[in-house]
């Protein structure tokens, strides 16, 4: 039993080089400053993975962490973060997944698992409470995600173990391979699977039999019941239950922000044919949920007739669905399902894979790529054969796929073509929502600590286009108008802090944030009821502030500056040609200036000493001032206890 309520209480450290295991107890200071999950990981990354460490070297750390609400009845999902230095971007790598892995990790007794070194031969780790085995994985090499999971379950003779594994893409060092739990629950972004494979680690299997205690059961139960009542009558409850995130596809099309044919259009003429609505009507047979979640938004689909009839699986979610339809110009839903299934099996990040394919397709359309260079593939928009062939080629680094397997930034550099249309920020490919029609989201992509990604901020409130909300929350009516650029600095700062605590508590953003079920004050209440430590709305906001700033400090140490916080030129120069965001472009400079000012960062994008000191990151401020040239020398540091 843990020393602390709500936590399993232990950090497990496995050194694969030396075949050694260490267990530490977590400390109170770590809990109150970082809560868990992403907070724990970012702190470890900052302190243990310095600048000179190469992402695919044994010195990199691979970390799994989960939060205090996981493994209880808390009904808003149970997730885990995987972090390491990313091979795709060379900076902070971090990805988050749901399913049942996180809860099992808590029941096994660990809040964080840190993997160091590199195993001399292929291995997988099996953890059953205190018993940690490093098993031989020779027989798993080259096996896909589904086969590996099944084989490990058979080997261990237990159906209820939770397995997180990498596929062949990771083993072939594709730089954007993910880690897959429950078959279709990937922590896919930023190449965490590649880091895992570089350690010769094929999978982690878990089985836990201990339990989690909480500080104030009565208060906890009361808050949980409140949340449940609100959820069941929430206007988003049924749409989410029927369609999950795929409901966004039609919404994005209506708003003119559905990136089509590599962001050359904001609407897709075949959207209805590949929509979540159609999936729900014709394909889905049942719903599934993550651990303890009361909104079963994941769906099992079965292709009942036509091409690929008989194919079944879990998902897909909006990003993967939209990536393999609108982004690559494909109107065949069955083909898209097959593509997502294939990407899952080989263990790829669907967003980055689709960006690489769409990028190549645009170059092909512009005749900058010839059939000779693409191994004879005709990269026409929506060509099913080409899409499936490219996924396979990327995963096994065959022919043209070898170029794409390094991500779109490096591919453009190597090819010497298409740099201006390689759509990424800091090396991470952009997601499926056009920033020209969603300015707050766009600013979020630009400044997100892991590269172009919405899950670091996700200021969904923009979609309401309600100036009253902007006035109320930020004193700027434009802040909540999606096509306006004023007030977005305030907006993004607020939502970044919110997302940081949601990631650190390890609950689901769809519910906690998008459905507004876990605002700062309630997050403080529930954290207090579970952990027994005092939290307030303000201290929660500060935790968010701390996580974001620590991650920024990490980036600054890695050399990231203002120039890296720009969206690709396409969004700054070409306006949207059609749809309900027609004519809009992205105003980068004023938005970035406002954001830096709101954050307390200087014009280079570096957190000032005062900003870091205020949130207790004195050591970080001191270290940063040594790293950054021309920073004003400051002699007196605040006396507040350092974190």
């Amino acid at each position: 039993m843990s020393e602390y309520y709500g936590y399993a209480g232990k950090i497990l450290r496995i050194n694969l080089t030396r075949n050694k295991v260490k267990i530490h107890h977590i400390e109170k200071e770590l809990i109150t400053a970082f809560l868990g999950g992403r907070g724990f990981n970012s702190k470890t990354l900052y302190h243990e993975v310095p600048k000179h460490v190469k992402p695919l070297s044994p010195q990199n750390r691979l970390m799994f962490a989960t939060g205090p609400l996981v493994g209880t009845t808390f009904p808003l999902g149970a997730r885990f973060n995987v972090s390491a230095k990313s091979p795709l971007t060379g900076i902070l790598g971090d990805s988050n997944a749901g399913g049942h892995f996180a809860a099992e990790m808590k029941f096994a007794g660990y809040d964080q698992i840190i993997i160091e070194g590199k195993s001399p031969k292929p291995a997988y780790i099996f953890i059953r409470d205190q018993e940690i085995q490093i098993n031989d994985a020779d027989h798993l090499v080259g096996k896909d995600v589904y086969e590996t999971t099944e084989t490990i379950k058979k080997d261990l003779g237990e159906r209820s173990v939770q397995v997180a594994t990498v596929g062949p893409a990771a083993e072939n060092r594709v730089l954007y391979a993910g880690i897959f739990a429950n078959l279709a629950r990937p922590a896919a972004r930023t190449g965490m699977g590649t880091v895992m494979a570089s350690k010769n680690l094929k999978a982690i299997a878990l089985k836990g039999t201990s339990s989690i205690k909480i500080a104030d059961p009565k208060r906890f139960w009361k808050i949980v019941q409140e949340i449940k009542e609100e959820t069941y009558v929430h206007p988003q409850y049924w749409p989410r239950r029927l369609m999950g995130t795929t409901r966004i596809l039609m919404l994005a099309d209506r708003l003119g922000i559905l990136p089509t044919r590599h962001f050359t259009s904001g609407t897709f003429e075949h959207a209805a044919k590949v929509s979540g609505e159609r999936l729900a009507r014709e394909y889905n047979v049942k719903n599934r949920a993550c651990f303890a979640c009361i909104v079963p938004c994941s769906r099992i689909y079965v292709i009942k007739e036509g091409e690929y009839a008989g194919l079944y699986g879990e998902g897909p979610e909006y990003e993967a669905l939209s990536c393999f339809t609108a982004r690559v110009g494909n109107s065949n839903l069955n083909l898209a399902l097959r593509a997502v299934d294939l990407a899952n099996k080989v263990g790829l990040d669907a967003i980055t894979t689709a960006e690489c394919i769409a990028w190549a397709m645009e170059l092909y359309e512009k005749r900058e790529l010839s059939k000779k260079e693409t191994d004879g593939l005709e990269l026409q928009w929506g060509d099913g054969e080409a899409i499936l062939a490219l996924i396979e080629k990327i995963a096994y680094r065959k022919g043209f796929g070898d170029l794409l397997a390094d991500g779109v930034k490096k591919a453009a550099e190597k090819l010497g073509k298409g740099k201006e249309i390689a759509l990424h920020v800091k090396g991470l490919e952009i997601i499926q929502a056009d920033p020209r029609g969603l300015k707050g989201y766009g600013l979020g992509y630009a400044v997100a600590s892991r590269g172009a990604d919405h899950l670091r901020s996700e200021p969904f409130i923009e979609l309401s286009d309600d100036p009253k909300k902007g006035m109320e929350m930020f004193g700027v009516p434009e802040a909540t108008l999606r096509l306006a650029h004023e007030g977005k600095g305030k907006l993004v700062r607020y939502f970044e802090n919110w997302c940081a605590i949601i990631d650190s508590l390890e609950v689901c953003k769809n519910l906690a944030e998008n459905m507004e079920l876990l605002p700062f004050n309630r997050a403080a209440e529930i954290a207090e009821a579970v952990t027994g430590f005092h939290f307030s709305k303000e201290s929660m906001f500060e935790v968010g502030e701390r996580v974001v700033n620590l991650e920024r400090a990490y980036l600054v140490r890695e050399g990231i500056r203002r120039r890296d916080d720009y969206l690709p030129q396409r969004f700054l120069k070409e306006s949207l040609p059609n749809g309900n965001s027609k004519g809009s472009i992205f105003e980068m400079e004023p938005m970035l200036n406002e954001y830096y000012a709101q954050r307390g960062w200087d014009e280079r994008g570096i957190p000032t000493d005062a900003t870091l000191e205020k949130i207790g990151l004195v050591h970080v401020a001191q270290q940063l001032s040594r790293h950054v040239k021309n920073s004003p020398v400051k002699k007196k540091w605040s006396s507040r206890t350092p974190i």
Partner: protein, 157 residues
């Protein structure tokens, strides 16, 4: 008698039932302390809650070497902890695998319907569990449920 019935099409596999059960009975959250267990098959997305049916007759009761399993006057099977030797014969012989041993006390965990108001049924987010009168004395076997469900969903494994 009233029994907990399961609708496999509705179950999302979220395991809220396991959590509320362990919390209610043991004051702690842990699936190994729960009287109800969700069997999960990620391959074809099937989730099947398994909970004691209180069969008549009960195979586990018949096979218990220390006669620790008894039936109450309401027809519920329960274990007399002082008689139990922790041999695990009950979990081997239960026809649906609904029994397991408490990880610390090593005695069988058997659902007692929370005294007539099962919390798992009350808290199930998708209403996959219902508490209803039924005279069926033996439950459908898990393998049979899986087979029928996959046929209905048109999934060929």
């Amino acid at each position: 008698m009233k029994r907990i019935l399961i609708d496999v099409d509705r179950c999302s596999g979220c395991r809220q039932c396991e959590m509320v059960c362990s919390f209610n009975k043991e004051d702690a959250f842990g699936s190994s302390f729960s009287r109800i267990t969700v069997m999960k098959e990620d391959n074809f997305g099937l989730d099947l809650p398994i909970v004691c049916w209180h069969c008549h007759p009960c195979k586990a009761m018949e096979n218990c070497p220390s006669e620790a399993l008894e039936r109450s006057k309401d027809g519920l099977v329960f274990s007399k902890e002082e008689k139990c030797v922790g041999c695990g014969k009950c979990l081997e012989t239960c026809i649906i695998g609904a029994i397991r041993l408490h990880p610390e006390r090593n005695t069988p965990l058997i659902c007692n319907h929370c005294g007539g108001k099962p919390l798992c049924v009350q808290e199930c987010p998708t209403k996959a569990l219902t508490y209803m009168e039924t005279e069926t004395q033996q439950p459908k076997l898990p393998n049979q449920i899986i087979k029928e469900t996959l046929r209905r969903w048109k999934i060929i494994v």
